[in-house]
């Protein structure tokens, strides 16, 4: 039998004004196991906690019930107080008589009655509590960053600067990500490559950073502090150690018909290629689907021209297994597919392009060497139309419900750059709202209108129709003038919604990190823990968590790095002791619990048991305490109740039910 002390908090008048705390004390004393009950002004204060210590000393309490505010508020406080008093912290239960009682009920009698019942439930539970000991697990001092864009690079540099080993896994042949595809950046209009390249070099040169490009995460097991990750290093067909990056192979390669991923398919590349000139590592890969040697067995030209002898057609995919203490996801984004938006004629006309395609066109290293021209006929456009919110803010099933956040600003940037470089081109922007929160953002947008004469029209475009004369008829609305606009344009640029990179789904599943309905990774708390995943040891960096621009991405990357460093700096981790536990004598070994465990925390062992004198070998569920997060899914699928959750056991919850219903 427990010796329980009940402490009823007044919370000033927050509780005492509607709950007769004396009555709660009086009633609590009648409950089985209760040997002490008292009330106090503020239980959470030093003096309040001292009362607990005192009562433990005097009455030898083994269990403590605090009737106060929500356990989400002060459970930790009172657990610590209990620990100081020499009572196991898990012998504390909170009866929430503030949020769930005094604050919502006006009638004193009624509120008091309810408070008594809530106290009873907590007492009934504590009667069945058992002391729990948090376990310990070790921390591997190494971090994995998934994704080599600006988010991943920044996170990796920050973690590495703190002295920890970092591996970056990037699925394309080079790090750099989306930012490397951009021409200029808002609102400063500085050249994207000029600010990104030094970061890439820094990362690759950092002694603590190891970069796996053309690689993917294949399998993740383990848990916070002790993840084991299999990385598939895809066969590059080029020896990284021998290649000097001279580029001769790419020049000589006879197969030049593969669409360039880097240029969004606007032009082509050779079968052996580096995605772009500043690529890191500056080592090409052979695209085996495009390579004549791989397709027909003939050719082998690159091997002949390579003086370093780096070409290796026999190279195989390689699996690298590595242990990590923390994992940062920085998988970034892509633009959505526009196949459901026939009205914008994207698939019908080469002159209807996405903004990211425009970035490549505007870029000196792009398909048009930086000249603004129509992709259909190479002519310089005179009339350009930008359409905002293509696929963003859509409540239907065609697009995304959210605002992609970056489009207003980059469209202003594009409009401004075009007007600056080609003053004779008319630029019209159809918008629904212009959203420019951010430092110097609205000023930037106003400059586009005021200094550069960009024509902003409030109203969406209904249809873009290719005309026989090669132009595009844009049919839009002007909601301010309340008229319909028909405009013949030479080029139409679609501010296409962005979405998380499709690879994130698979990664989230491997990490058991949750994703929302839009496939963005979910934060542990939307406000207070925005760079942590609910899965311990997994952190979020960049657009994989939600749309954001470069400065925000870099800021979040740093924040994620700090969180990861905070974890790596620990030698040991305390694990939550409220984990599932299987009763060896009752377990059927049926595997049902393992099927529902989201953490893979349940495995099976054949063990010899002594069941009331019968010795047999049985298949029995074993819970890994470091992996188990204590959700309890396993406990309900276990028909015999062999699997139970410590701290929220079947008996404890049933006792609460009984106490409430009596």
């Amino acid at each position: 039998m427990q010796r329980i002390g009940v402490f009823v908090c007044h919370c000033g008048s927050n509780i005492a004004a509607t709950v007769d705390v004396k009555k709660v004390v009086e009633m609590a004393l009648l409950e089985p196991g209760v040997v002490h009950a008292e009330d106090y002004q503020y239980m959470c204060s030093e003096a309040g906690q001292a009362k607990i210590l005192e009562a433990v000393k005097e009455k030898g309490l083994t269990g403590i019930v605090v009737c106060s505010c929500s356990p989400r508020m002060h459970e930790a406080t009172f657990r610590k107080a209990a620990e100081r008093a020499g009572v196991n912290p898990y012998m504390v239960e909170i009866a929430n008589i503030r949020e769930h009682c005094s604050w919502i009920h006006k009638d004193m009698e009624e509120a008091t009655k309810k408070a008594v019942i809530l106290a009873r439930a907590a007492i009934a539970k504590v009667n069945l509590n058992a002391p729990l000991q948090p376990g310990e697990s070790r921390v591997t001092k190494r971090a994995l960053v998934i994704g080599g864009g600006i988010a991943g690079i920044q996170t990796a540099i920050d973690i590495a600067d703190a002295g920890y080993e970092v591996d970056i896994v990037e699925k394309t042949p080079s790090i750099g990500g989306r930012m490397s595809q951009l021409d200029k950046t808002f609102p400063t209009l500085d050249c994207s490559a000029c600010i990104l390249t030094p970061k890439m070099v820094e990362a690759s040169a950092h002694e603590k950073i190891n970069i796996y490009t053309y690689s993917e995460v294949e399998k993740v097991t383990g848990f916070v502090g002790d993840f084991t990750v299999d990385i598939r290093k895809k066969a590059r067909s080029v020896d990284m150690n021998k290649c000097t990056g001279c580029g001769v192979c790419q020049e000589k390669c006879p197969s030049k018909k593969a669409p360039s991923e880097f240029n969004r398919g606007l032009n082509t590349r050779s079968a052996i290629y580096t995605p772009f000139a500043q690529a890191i590592p500056n080592v090409p890969v052979i695209d085996r689907d495009a390579c004549i040697k791989f397709k027909t067995g003939k050719c082998g030209l690159c091997e002949k021209v390579c003086q370093a002898g780096a070409i290796d057609y026999a190279q195989q995919d390689e699996i690298i297994t590595e242990k990590y203490g923390a994992i940062v996801v920085a998988t970034g984004f892509d633009t959505i597919k526009l196949d459901k938006y026939d009205e914008y004629a994207y698939s019908q006309s080469k002159d209807v392009i996405t903004s990211l395609e425009l970035e490549r066109i505007m870029n000196a290293a792009g398909p048009t060497k930086g000249h603004l021209e129509r992709l259909s006929d190479g002519k310089a456009p005179k009339e350009m139309v930008f359409i905002q919110c293509v696929g963003s803010r859509c409540a239907d099933n065609r697009g995304k419900s959210y605002c992609s956040k970056i489009c207003c600003m980059y469209t202003a940037k594009h409009a401004m750059l075009i007007r600056d470089k080609y003053p004779d081109v008319n630029v019209t922007v159809f918008y629904i709202d212009v959203r420019t929160p951010g430092k110097n953002f609205d000023e930037f947008y106003r400059r586009a209108v005021e200094e550069y004469g960009v024509n902003y029209i409030k109203g969406q475009v209904g249809k873009v129709a290719p005309l026989p004369n090669g132009k595009l008829l844009v049919q839009g609305a002007d909601l301010i003038d309340n008229k319909q606009i028909l405009k013949e344009a030479d080029m139409v640029v679609l501010a296409t919604a962005i979405e998380p990179d499709p690879s994130v789904r698979k990664i989230a599943t491997m990490l058991t990190a949750s994703i929302d309905t839009n496939n963005f990774l979910t934060e542990a708390h939307p406000k207070l823990r925005p760079v942590e995943s609910p899965t311990a040891g997994v952190f979020l960096s960049g657009v994989c968590q939600g749309p954001k621009d470069i400065p925000e991405t870099v800021a979040q990357a740093g924040a994620a790095a700090v969180k990861a460093i905070g974890l790596l700096a620990k030698d040991k981790l305390m694990t939550n002791p409220c984990t599932a536990k299987a009763d060896e004598l009752m377990c059927n070994g049926c595997s049902t619990c393992a099927n529902v465990c989201p953490y893979g925390a349940i495995t099976y062992e054949v063990k010899q048991v002594n069941d009331h004198g019968i010795r047999e070998d049985r298949r029995i569920a074993v819970v890994n305490n470091a992996l188990c997060q204590g959700c309890g899914a396993c406990t309900v699928v276990c028909p015999s109740g062999a699997m139970d959750l410590q701290g929220f056991s079947n008996r404890q919850i049933l006792a609460e039910v009984d106490a409430i219903c009596r």
Binding site: R393, I432, G462
Partner: protein
Amino acid sequence: MNTAKKQAELIKEISGVNPLKCMKCGKCSASCPSYNEMDIKPHQFVSYVVNEDVESLVNSKSLWKCLSCFACVERCPRDVKPGKLIDAARQVVVRQKGQDYLSPNEIPELLDPDLPQQLLVSAFRRYRR
């Protein structure tokens, strides 16, 4: 409930549309082939329903200028479907005349040459699926 409110509710009920979802992007008006013929533009139609000014709607030219091409319905990013609202407003007018239900047999004699063709076309479109 006053009449205007009732009618607005009726329009919402018939159309199955929640006009409050509108974000005023104007894509409906941008898509509308009859735009220039209309006194109340498609995107305005939505706010008229929100503001319960059904009186103006039922008396508007727009009501009978809509071709029921449903371009706005297809393209509306917010699932507001102004075309359905217009359609519902028409139905309210028809119902006011006490003609809630028709049996197929009655149609031939009711085929008044003055009956707006749009109403028929619209009906066909609406019930085709």
